[in-house]
C-alpha cells in the first residue's frame, strides 16, 4: 500500500511536470506577445522592451521555467509592469498582468464556485446514473430498460448550452419552480447556496450521467451472471439484496474509474455550464484569461485542472483496490 502510494505520487509528479512544461511551451508558441499584452496597445517599442525585462521574459527559456517551478514550490518575488515588486506565496503560479493579482490568488477566488458545481453535479450523476443503470439492468430487456436507456441517451446527445437555457426557461422563468442560478457561499446561507446551484447541478449532472448510466447498466448485467452472485442466491439471499451486496461490488471497478475521471474533469472547470448560468468559476476565469491573452492565468488554470485529474484518477485507483482485495497494489 505504502509503496503503491509512493509510486503513484512519483507518477503524478511526472505527469504534472510534463503538463507544466507543455503549458509553459504554449506560453511561447502563442502568437500573442505577453509583454505587449501586459503593456497595453499604446506602448511604444521601448516601453514593451522594459515591460518584457520586468516580466523576466528576456531571460533564457530554461531559467524562466525553473523560476516558475521554484515559484510553485517556494514562492518568489515578481515585478509588476509598473516596476513595483511583490511577493507571490508558495504555490505561485505566476502573476496576472491583466488582473494585477497573483494567479494562485485569482484561482482560489474562483475555486469555491467550481468545487460547489462539481460536487453537486457529481452527486446527481452518481445517484441518477447508478439508479437508472441499476433499474435498467434489473429490468433488462423490458420496456422500462428501453425507456431508461432512451432517456439517458437524450442526455448524451443534447448540448448543455441548449438544455441549460431550456431548463432555465421552463423551471425558472415560466414556472418559478427553481430560483435563478447564482452562487452564494455555503457558509453565508446554505439554503441559498443549494437553491442557487440546484439547476446547474441537475443540468450538468444529467448531461454527464449518460455514459455513467450506460456503463453501470452493462457492468451490472455482466456481473449478474457471475457465479458468486448465483452462490449468494443459493445461500437464500433475495434477488435485490444479492445484487446490492455482490453484483454492485463486482461492477464497481470501471464505474469508480470513470467517476475519478469525471470528478477531475469537472473540478478543472465546467466552462459552458458556468457561462450558461452566469457562474464565475474556474472555467469562466480560464476563458476570460484566454480572451485577454493573459498567459500566466491560462497556464495556471491548465495546471490546476491537470492536478485535479491526476489526483482523482489516483484516488479512484485506491478506492478500486480497497473494493477488490484481489488487486495487489505495488
Amino acid at each position: 500500500m505504502l509503496s503503491f502510494a509512493l509510486r503513484r505520487i512519483l507518477q503524478a509528479l511526472a505527469v504534472l511536470a510534463a503538463v507544466s512544461a507543455a503549458a509553459f511551451a504554449l506560453f511561447y508558441a502563442a502568437p500573442a506577445d505577453p509583454a505587449r499584452a501586459a503593456c497595453g496597445p499604446r506602448c511604444d517599442t521601448g516601453q514593451v522592451a522594459a515591460v518584457r525585462a520586468s516580466m523576466g521574459l528576456d531571460q533564457p527559456l530554461l531559467t524562466q521555467y525553473t523560476d516558475y517551478l521554484t515559484g510553485i514550490v517556494a514562492g518568489r518575488d515578481i515585478q509588476d509592469v509598473d516596476g513595483s515588486t511583490l511577493h507571490c506565496d508558495a504555490p505561485c503560479l505566476g502573476y496576472s498582468y491583466r488582473l494585477h493579482q497573483p494567479v494562485t490568488e485569482a484561482l482560489v477566488d474562483h475555486l469555491p464556485v467550481t468545487v460547489s458545481l462539481a460536487a453537486g453535479a457529481l452527486a446527481f450523476l452518481v445517484v441518477f446514473g447508478l439508479g437508472t443503470g441499476f433499474v435498467a439492468a434489473l429490468r433488462h430487456g423490458t420496456r422500462t430498460d428501453r425507456l431508461l436507456s432512451g432517456f439517458t441517451l437524450i442526455g448524451a446527445s443534447v448540448q448543455i448550452y441548449f438544455l441549460g437555457y431550456v431548463a432555465q426557461w421552463g423551471l425558472v422563468y415560466t414556472t418559478g419552480l427553481l430560483p435563478l442560478p447564482s452562487y452564494t457561499p455555503p457558509a453565508t446561507d446554505p439554503a441559498a447556496w443549494a437553491g442557487g446551484m440546484l439547476l446547474p447541478w441537475i443540468v450538468l449532472g444529467f448531461v454527464n450521467s449518460a455514459v455513467f448510466a450506460r456503463l453501470s447498466r452493462s457492468q451490472l448485467l455482466e456481473t449478474m451472471d457471475e457465479e458468486y452472485v448465483r452462490t449468494a442466491r443459493g445461500k437464500g439471499l433475495g434477488r435485490l439484496r444479492a445484487h446490492l451486496k455482490y453484483t454492485a461490488r463486482g461492477a464497481a471497478g470501471p464505474l469508480v474509474q470513470l467517476l475519478g475521471l469525471e470528478a477531475g474533469a469537472l473540478l478543472g472547470g465546467a466552462v459552458i455550464t458556468e457561462t450558461v448560468f452566469g457562474l464565475n468559476g474556474v472555467g469562466r476565469f480560464a476563458t476570460e484569461a484566454v480572451e485577454g491573452q493573459d498567459l500566466p492565468a491560462v497556464v495556471g488554470a491548465v495546471l490546476l485542472a491537470a492536478c485535479f485529474v491526476v489526483l482523482f484518477v489516483a484516488l479512484a485507483d485506491l478506492v478500486i483496490a480497497w473494493l477488490d482485495p484481489r488487486i495487489r497494489l505495488g
Binding site: S3, L6, R7, L10, G141, E226, E227, Y228, R230, T231, A232, R233, G234, K235, G236, L237, G238, R239, Y246, R249, G250, L323, D324, P325, R326, R328, G330
Partner: protein, 599 residues
C-alpha cells in the same frame, strides 16, 4: 475453536438427521426408475416428470434442457447424476433450488422436498430452502465464492440468513468452527478466497454448504477444476461430512471416475432424458444401454489396455489394433533410419524464468522460475507424454519447444540444430515441421474464417501448391480427420467441440509436420468425444509417423496414448521413463502420489 470435532451446526437442528446411517449401495433389483426404492423411509427429494426449457433470446424454439426426468433421493443417499455437456444435469440441480431466471426458463413437473412442492413455490419459501435445507457446491470455488469478502464473512452470512436470531459473534464462531472442521485453520478465516489454493477454496465452499446442516447437498462438478490428488482429498472430505451429517447428496458430474468412488447410485442423462439408473457398482460393471456402455468404455482408467481403439457411442466395440504399438525412446532413436539414429528434439538444462513483481521502484524482483534445469528427448515418431499438476511448468516447456517462449537458459536442439538461436532456414523449418494442437477448440479457431481458409493458410505458407491443389489438399485433410469434404466452406461455430478439435488437428497436419505439440488436446472434451479424438490421433500417428509431445494432467489418457512419460513438478523433471515402467514401478514418491490419486 481449534477442536476438530466442533461441527458447527450440530447445536441447533442436528437431532433429526444425524441419527440416519449412511446408506450403502441399494440392491440391484431396486434400480428401475422412477420407482427406485429409497433405502429407508420416504425420499427426502422426489423429482417427478421434471422438464426445464430455456426460451431462445432470438425468439426461436425453446431449448429443452431437461425432458421428463424422475428420480428419488433417499435420506443420506449419494446419487450421481452423470452426463456430458448439454445433458441437462446442471439444469436439474438449479431447478431444485428454483435458481433459474423465471423470465427465460420454464420449469414443469414436480420437485418435492420432504413433501413440500418446490416447483412454482413462492420466493419467500424458496429462500428458506436455499442454503438452509438444500445447499449448493459449484465447480469452481474461485468464481463461485465472492472475491470481495473474507471466507469467514461469507460463511457467517450463510449462518445468519437461516438463524435470524443469531448475532454476528455467534455466526462468526459457527463459521470458524465449520472451517476448522474442513481443515481451514481459525487464523485464516479473515482471508479472502484468492489467498487459498483450489482445494482449500473448495473446502470453504463445502463448509459453507454444510454450515446449516441441509437435508440435501447439490454438488455440481465439485472437483472438476482440481488436480487429481486434490480431487481425491476433497471427495474424501465430502464423503466424510456427508456420513457425519447424514446429508443426501446429488453429485452432478461428467466424470464417471468421480461418481464411481463416491456414489451409491448413478443416473445417466443424455439430452435431458434418463438413459439408465442403477446402483453405481452395478452400472459400471454391467451397463445395459449402449450409450452407458460407450461412456463407461470411453472413460479411461489406469487398467485399460494402452494404445487400443476406444469404444465410442457410434462404435461401442471397436476392432482391436492388428499390431500393438511398441516403441521405446532409445529403440526408436536407434531405428530412426532417416535421421541416422538422431533424436528429433533434445532439451538440455532448460530454464524459463518470468520477471516477478517489483515491490519498490528500483528494487530487484524475484523471478518466477517456471522451468528449472529441465532435460527431455523425443525420438522421431515417438510420443512423449508430459505430465504434471497445474503450475508444474509443462505448458511453458511446450511453448519453448514451439518457439513461442524464449528460454532463459539451456539449449533446445531440433534435429541436431540449435533451436534456441535459430537461423532463418531453421526458423522456416521449425515453422513447418513443428505444429500445435490446443486445448480449447472454441478459442483456437478464428471464428471469421471458413474451414477452407483455416486449412489453406499453412498450405500457402509451407507448400508450393496452387490454389486448386490447396483446395483439394484441404478436402483430403478434412476427410483424414473424419469430417466430410463438403464442410470446407463452413464456419467454426457450425461445428461441435469434438469436430472443431478435428479441424485443429487437420490444420496441424496440413504442413506435414514431424512433431506435433498437443497441449491438453482432449481435456476440454466430453468423455465420448475425447475417445473419438484419441482414436483419431492414434490412427494418424500410426499412418503418418509423426512424433508427439503430449501435454496432459490426465494420467489415464497419457498412459493410453504415450510411449514415454516425463513427470514434472514445480518446474523440475521428476522422472522420465517408458510408459510401462513408469506406471508399473514409479521411482519417486511424487509419481507414486500422482498415480494413487488417479486410481
Amino acid at each position: 475453536m481449534t477442536s476438530s470435532s466442533a461441527t458447527a451446526p450440530e447445536s441447533d437442528a442436528a437431532a433429526s438427521t444425524t441419527a440416519v446411517p449412511a446408506t450403502g449401495p441399494v440392491p440391484a433389483d431396486a434400480a428401475s426408475p422412477p420407482a427406485s426404492a429409497p433405502a429407508a423411509g420416504s425420499p427426502v427429494l422426489s423429482v417427478r416428470d421434471l422438464s426445464v426449457s430455456f426460451a431462445d433470446p432470438r425468439g426461436d424454439a425453446p431449448v429443452h434442457a431437461v425432458r421428463g426426468l424422475s428420480f428419488d433421493l433417499a435420506r443420506g443417499e449419494v446419487l450421481g447424476l452423470v452426463g456430458e455437456s448439454g445433458s441437462g444435469k446442471s439444469a436439474t440441480g438449479l431447478a431444485v433450488l428454483g435458481l433459474h431466471d423465471p423470465r427465460t426458463t420454464t420449469v414443469t413437473g414436480s420437485i418435492r422436498l420432504d413433501g413440500q412442492e418446490l416447483v412454482g413455490a413462492g420466493e419467500q419459501a424458496l429462500r428458506r430452502v436455499r442454503g438452509g435445507r438444500v445447499a449448493l457446491v459449484f465447480q469452481d470455488a474461485l468464481t463461485s465464492l465472492s472475491p470481495f469478502h473474507t471466507v469467514g464473512a461469507q460463511l457467517a452470512e450463510m449462518y445468519r440468513l437461516h438463524h435470524p436470531g443469531a448475532g454476528r459473534a455467534e455466526a462468526r464462531r459457527q463459521a470458524a468452527a465449520m472451517l476448522d472442521r474442513v481443515g481451514i485453520p481459525a487464523a485464516r478465516t479473515d482471508d479472502h478466497p484468492h489467498r487459498f489454493s483450489g482445494g482449500m477454496r473448495q473446502r470453504v465452499m463445502i463448509a459453507m454448504a454444510l454450515l446449516n446442516n441441509p437435508d440435501v447437498l447439490i454438488a455440481d462438478e465439485p472437483t472438476t477444476a482440481l488436480d487429481a490428488r486434490v480431487q481425491d482429498q476433497v471427495l474424501d472430505l465430502l464423503g466424510e461430512l456427508q456420513r457425519e451429517h447424514g446429508t443426501a447428496v446429488l453429485l452432478v458430474s461428467h466424470d464417471l471416475g468421480v461418481v464411481a468412488g463416491s456414489t451409491d447410485r448413478t443416473l445417466v442423462l443424455r439430452g435431458g432424458r434418463e438413459v439408465e439408473s442403477a446402483p453405481t457398482a452395478a452400472l459400471l460393471a454391467a451397463p445395459r444401454e449402449p450409450y452407458t456402455k460407450a461412456l463407461v468404455g470411453a472413460a479411461l482408467t489406469l487398467d485399460s489396455v494402452p494404445g487400443t481403439p476406444l469404444p465410442t457411442v457410434d462404435d461401442p466395440s471397436p476392432a482391436p489394433r492388428p499390431t500393438p504399438r511398441l516403441r521405446s525412446g532409445a529403440a526408436a532413436a536407434g531405428s530412426g533410419s532417416a535421421t541416422g539414429g538422431r533424436w528429433l528434439v533434445e532439451v538440455e538444462d532448460l530454464s524459463v524464468h518470468f520477471p516477478g513483481r517489483r515491490r519498490f521502484p528500483g528494487t530487484r524482483s524475484e523471478p518466477v522460475r517456471a522451468v528449472e534445469g529441465l532435460g527431455l528427448r523425443i525420438a522421431p515418431g515417438e510420443t512423449l507424454g508430459l505430465v504434471g499438476e497445474s503450475g508444474s511448468g509443462k505448458s511453458t516447456t511446450s511453448r519453448v519447444l514451439a518457439g513461442l517462449q524464449p528460454a532463459t537458459a539451456g539449449t533446445v536442439r531440433y534435429d541436431g540444430l540449435d533451436a534456441t538461436r535459430p537461423d532463418r532456414a531453421l526458423r522456416r523449418r521449425l515453422a513447418k515441421e513443428v505444429q500445435l494442437v490446443f486445448q480449447d477448440p472454441y478459442a483456437s479457431l478464428n471464428p471469421r474464417r471458413t474451414v477452407a481458409q483455416t486449412l489453406e493458410t499453412p498450405l500457402r505458407l509451407h507448400t508450393a501448391l496452387g490454389a486448386g491443389e490447396r483446395r483439394q489438399r484441404s478436402a483430403e485433410l478434412l476427410e483424414q480427420v473424419g469430417l466430410p469434404a463438403d464442410h470446407l466452406d463452413r464456419y467454426p461455430h457450425e461445428f461441435s467441440g469434438g469436430q472443431r478439435q478435428r479441424i485443429g488437428i487437420a490444420r496441424a497436419l496440413a504442413a506435414e509436420p514431424r512433431l506435433i505439440i498437443a497441449d491438453e488436446p482432449v481435456s476440454a472434451l466430453d468423455v465420448s468425444v475425447q475417445a473419438q479424438v484419441l482414436n483419431l490421433l492414434m490412427e494418424l500417428r500410426e499412418r503418418l509417423g509423426v512424433a508427439f509431445l503430449f501435454v496432459s494432467h490426465d494420467l489415464a489418457v497419457v498412459r493410453h496414448f504415450c510411449d514415454r512419460v516425463a513427470v514434472m513438478h514445480r518446474g523440475r523433471l521428476v522422472e522420465s521413463t517408458d510408459r510401462d515402467r513408469l506406471f508399473a514401478a514409479p521411482h519417486t514418491d511424487y509419481t507414486r502420489e500422482l498415480l494413487a490419486a488417479a486410481r
